[in-house]
């Protein structure tokens, strides 16, 4: 965090000064470790084993915050009798289909649940990620309130299943899998337990060290289980803090340019299920909680996009939405480009030739397009691959043979346009245009608005039914300035939404399904309340409370901490005065009572803590007074996920796609059985336990550079601070392989070989794992051939295998390392092929057993 989110880290240091214990778990020793109380070196990708060990410590000793766990989690829920755990199936859960490498989830459900017909074996919806991720602003649905055993003794209650599932994750096993000494593990476990409960809370902060794995979603789930057992969710100083890495990456999922989502985490329709609006809402409509109002959100979106053309009679133009049929994610798309199935590609502030896994695969895709539009500030590698990419050097590609027509359109910088970024805590902050963009530079807002105008002009008069979605689109925005820049505030106001009278709405609870309201992203409704751009509020922090509610605007409803009803006990009183945040005050509203506190309560304002919903209640009416998790259909946080996670109801440790060791926990199940791989000659995988590729590599960032480098390698200050690509190795590995500090090393995987300057440092510590010493090599991934500070791209080494829930790649792999610079030209290909041959990587195809 000190490396990659330094300014946020000031609060960690402040907490430390006030007595907090800081624990840093990371394969490398960083600026964070240097100021932490405890640094725990861990083997990359073994996080579930570590977190599972902590969960086991808590449940086997019953050290959980029992009142919180009973009231606010599904610990007492009883699971159906057909569920079989990994303990009894050698590392698999019940319902696995080995042919499709997917799970049927029927047996994972609460006892008494109806059979879900949506997840039929072998249907293509199991192969796309849309449903799992649609839970981004809410939970997946369950159809019934579970039966409970509040004594937690029923052998099929969640608490007992958790106990059984994690019993194997002992301190000795954590040592075996993660390389963490039992004494240090015990120190961490004791610290967490002692720092949680009524009077104290613990926060977990993570970044892509948790997400970039073929088990990434399950690692986050393990963190959530730990925090729920300790009562650290929805409370001040608690939570699981996702430290996201880009100015508006949270905004990019809220208002997604993602294939499987519409704004506000509404799912893109799927051809096999959603041929009408009724089909599309059927699974969710009426379910308990606010997700049950999905029709209001969906119709308001359709009205925003197709305006008066969207009527109840034509299903509000639902049919204008294109339908999915499977995985249309970025890695599948790149393979489709290689196979010649795609004509055009827009790269918009994105540099996949350096920033995405398996750079060769990316560049091969770029080279096989009809046309490519690159919009960026500087000449990034994804725009120049045809002139000087690595494949030109090796002779794999010849410039004259590359048929891709490339348009480079210069972009406006953040100071040259107005708009909002959504930061990592869901806070929208407006930035104002300071100067006009130079020459041909334009904002993306300008580009897409004017591209849309031109397309619509060219189609004007068309009678083709296929063109109706473009011609009926609401596409009128006020223009200003010499470049006819569309008004970003007008777009934000459309995102917020308007009511029947055309005035800006204040809350998503005002949205309706009858077509009388519009809202481009229901969770952002309220950002333009009272016709005021709430995201532009800048009341100084020192002039308001520590929650600072008048700085920017957070979704939903300007709440700063989600699910904060859980900061009070079931009766609505703070768990302790010290940790008071939101509570029920019976004296308010003329004695009727109201939720109040330091933050905006994330709850129905007048719902009494003891309220019991009427039988058959739907949507928000079905939320009980002590159900803090208002987006979950049972109102509870899930220790066990009976739905919504495609690779298991509980996290399980599997080895990453490439590993130097056998899975010590489940010897019969080396990898996540439901992982998604992309077998292809260009994406070959190193064999497990390979002597040719014996070392682990993991990629990461340094403070002075930013992701794929387009915004940092061209800056003199930053290039001077971190001038060259390097690899971090331990003194032990340096001795073993003859690597010299400040010399060169060649690092080789089945994809390619790259060279880096060698940094020999104790910061990388060899770990004893599964009876052998595992060396890890650290690779900052910011470099590429362009810019002031140059180097090979670390991501060229990475195999693409993804998490089946979210289609995000694993960043950990295995490699060889040797002193000296890498071979040049065709000799590089021979070098890689020689390694592959010795390791037994299939020649024609990347799939290995």
């Amino acid at each position: 965090m000190a490396e990659c989110h330094p300014v946020g880290f000031q609060y960690v240091m402040e907490a430390k000064r006030r007595g907090a214990t800081i624990i840093h778990v990371d394969p490398r020793f960083t600026r964070t470790s240097a100021v932490s109380d405890i640094h725990v070196p861990i083997r990359a990708a073994s996080d579930i084993a570590f977190l599972g060990g902590l969960i086991n410590h808590i449940v086997s000793n019953e050290l959980d915050f029992r009142e919180y766990v009973l009231a606010y989690t599904n610990a007492a829920a009883i699971i159906g009798p057909d569920f079989v755990d990994t303990e009894d199936l050698a590392g698999l859960f019940s319902g696995f289909d080995p042919e499709q490498a997917t799970y049927n989830h029927d047996s994972w459900k609460y006892e008494g649940s109806p059979t879900d017909t949506r997840h039929k074996k072998g249907t293509d919806e199991d192969l796309d990620a849309s449903r799992a991720e649609a839970a981004g602003s809410g939970g997946p649905r369950v159809h019934i309130k579970p039966q409970l055993d509040e004594t937690l003794q029923h052998p099929r209650c969640v608490y007992q299943l958790l106990k059984k599932h994690f019993a194997r994750y002992t301190p000795e096993m954590v040592h075996e899998v993660c390389g963490i000494e039992p004494a240090q593990f015990q120190q961490v476990a004791d610290t967490l337990v002692h720092n949680s409960g009524r009077e104290r809370t613990t926060a977990l902060a993570y970044a892509v060290g948790w997400t970039h794995h073929s088990t990434g979603s399950q690692i986050i789930r393990a963190g959530a289980i730990l925090q729920l057992l300790l009562g650290n969710v929805g409370r001040p100083g608690g939570g699981i803090i996702a430290l996201r890495g880009h100015a508006s990456i949270q905004g990019s999922t809220d208002i997604p340019t993602l294939y499987n989502l519409l704004p506000g985490y509404l799912p893109m329709p799927h051809a096999s299920q959603h041929q009408s609006l009724d089909d599309w809402v059927r699974a969710d409509e009426g379910a308990a909680g606010f997700w049950g109002n999905i029709r209001d959100y969906g119709v308001s979106l359709l009205k925003s996009w197709w305006g008066d053309a969207a009527t109840a009679e034509n299903d509000f133009c639902f049919d204008y939405l294109p339908r999915l049929t499977g995985d249309h994610g970025t890695y599948r798309t790149v393979l489709d480009q290689i196979e010649g199935k795609i004509a055009g590609y827009f790269l918009v502030g994105e540099n996949p030739a350096v920033g995405s896994s398996n750079g060769k695969m990316q560049r091969r895709g770029l080279a096989n397009l009809d046309w490519l539009v690159v919009r960026d500030l500087v000449m990034i590698e994804s725009a120049t691959f045809w002139a000087d990419g690595p494949e030109i050097e090796t002779g794999e590609m010849r410039t004259a043979d590359i048929g891709t027509e490339v348009f480079f359109l210069p972009a406006a910088s953040h100071t040259e346009k107005s708009g909002t970024f959504t930061n990592t805590q869901r806070l929208l902050q407006w930035h104002h245009e300071a100067v006009a963009p130079p020459d041909d530079c334009r904002s993306e807002l300008w580009f897409y608005y004017h591209l849309g105008k031109r397309i619509r002009d060219k189609l004007a008069g068309s009678t083709d039914e296929r063109d109706r979605p473009l011609l009926d689109l609401t596409w009128e925005y006020p223009e200003h300035g010499v470049h006819a820049e569309p008004d970003a505030e007008a777009v934000l106001r459309e995102i917020n939404g308007t009511g029947p009278d055309g005035a800006a709405l204040s809350s998503y609870t005002e949205l309706a399904a009858d077509g009388s309201t519009r809202s481009g992203c229901w969770i952002y409704c309220g950002v333009y309340a009272d016709e005021v751009n709430q995201s532009a509020r800048r009341k100084p922090g020192h002039e308001q409370s520590w929650v600072a509610p008048e700085w920017g605007w957070a979704w939903p409803a300007n709440r700063r901490t989600l699910y904060n009803r859980a900061s009070a006990d079931p009766d609505g009183k703070p768990w302790s005065e010290r940790k008071a945040y939101v509570w029920w005050d019976q004296t308010l509203a003329d004695g009727q009572g109201r939720w109040t506190g330091h933050d905006i309560p994330d709850f129905i304002a007048d719902r009494h803590p003891h309220h019991v919903p009427a039988e058959g209640a739907q949507g928000p009416d079905a939320i009980g007074g002590s159900d803090p998790f208002i987006m979950m259909t049972d109102g509870k946080a899930w220790l066990y996920a009976p739905a919504g996670v495609v690779d298991g109801p509980m996290p399980t440790h599997y080895e990453p796609p490439e590993s130097p060791v056998s899975n010590p926990l489940y010897p019969d199940q080396q990898h996540n059985p439901a992982r998604r791989s992309y077998p292809h000659e260009i994406n070959a995988r190193n064999p497990d336990l390979s002597e040719v590729y014996p070392f682990v590599f993991t990629t990461y960032r340094v403070t002075e550079h930013h992701t794929a480098g387009g915004m940092s390698r061209t800056l003199p200050y930053l290039s001077e601070l971190q001038p060259e690509f390097f690899c971090e190795v331990s003194p032990g590995l340096a001795t073993e392989r003859g690597l010299e500090h400040l010399g060169w090393a060649t690092i080789t995987s089945a994809r390619t070989a790259i060279e880096a300057r060698v940094l020999v440092t104790d910061r990388m510590r060899p770990l004893r794992v599964a009876g052998q010493v595992v060396h890890q090599i650290g690779l900052p991934y910011h470099w590429g051939p362009n810019g002031l500070s140059t180097g090979d791209a670390a991501n060229d080494l990475v195999n693409v295998t993804v998490d089946p829930n979210v289609n995000i790649q694993d960043k950990v792999g295995t490699c060889a390392i040797a002193p000296g610079r890498r071979p040049r030209g065709p000799a590089l290909l021979q070098h890689v092929a020689e390694h592959r041959r010795r390791a037994g990587v299939p020649v024609d195809e990347g799939k290995t057993p």
Partner: protein, 211 residues
Amino acid sequence: MLSGPRAGCRLVGVRVAWLAVAMRAARTFVEGWPVWRQLTGSDPLGRGHAARSRATDELQNRNATADRVVDSICPYCAVGCGQKVFVKDEKVTQIEGDPASPISRGRLCPKGSASKQLVTSPDRVTTVRYRRPGGTEWEDLDLDTAMDMIADRVLAARRSHWQDEHDGRRVRRTTGISSLGGATLDNEENYLMKKLYTAMGAVQIENQARI
């Protein structure tokens, strides 16, 4: 003309006056010497007024002459630090942390601190560049022409890769147009992108958020 005793007196007086001027100048010079002030004054470590000179006193904060100061947000990571953008003669002259921000409290990291170089970099490409199929060099292209060519290509790709149905099910989409980017864009930009792409029927629309 100067002569006689009075003249001599005057001459002496002039000499004395000159000497006084010279001594004053010498004193000013010596006293202007930081080490003298450091040795004789109350600032023996030379970390305060002893180190000041007229040049120091006349220095002006470059931000003080800015024509305007514009509120902004750092474009790098997702912490969302507040920035103040100083503008003079329609150029960005400095970017500093915003002390009012309850998030950053005036601080910026090395990247945020360097962001003036990001927006004023001479390495920024500010005109459209075009590489024709098989071409070995970049060429110039007028922005208006480029926009028109791109619109034509979008329509052609949309049409040539159009699917009314897939495996017998209605999909009404095109598989010819793909997109990737960028988590440094504004929400309003992502919104127009998704809206336009969806109306085109394009589905292979992805973002850094996947990566």
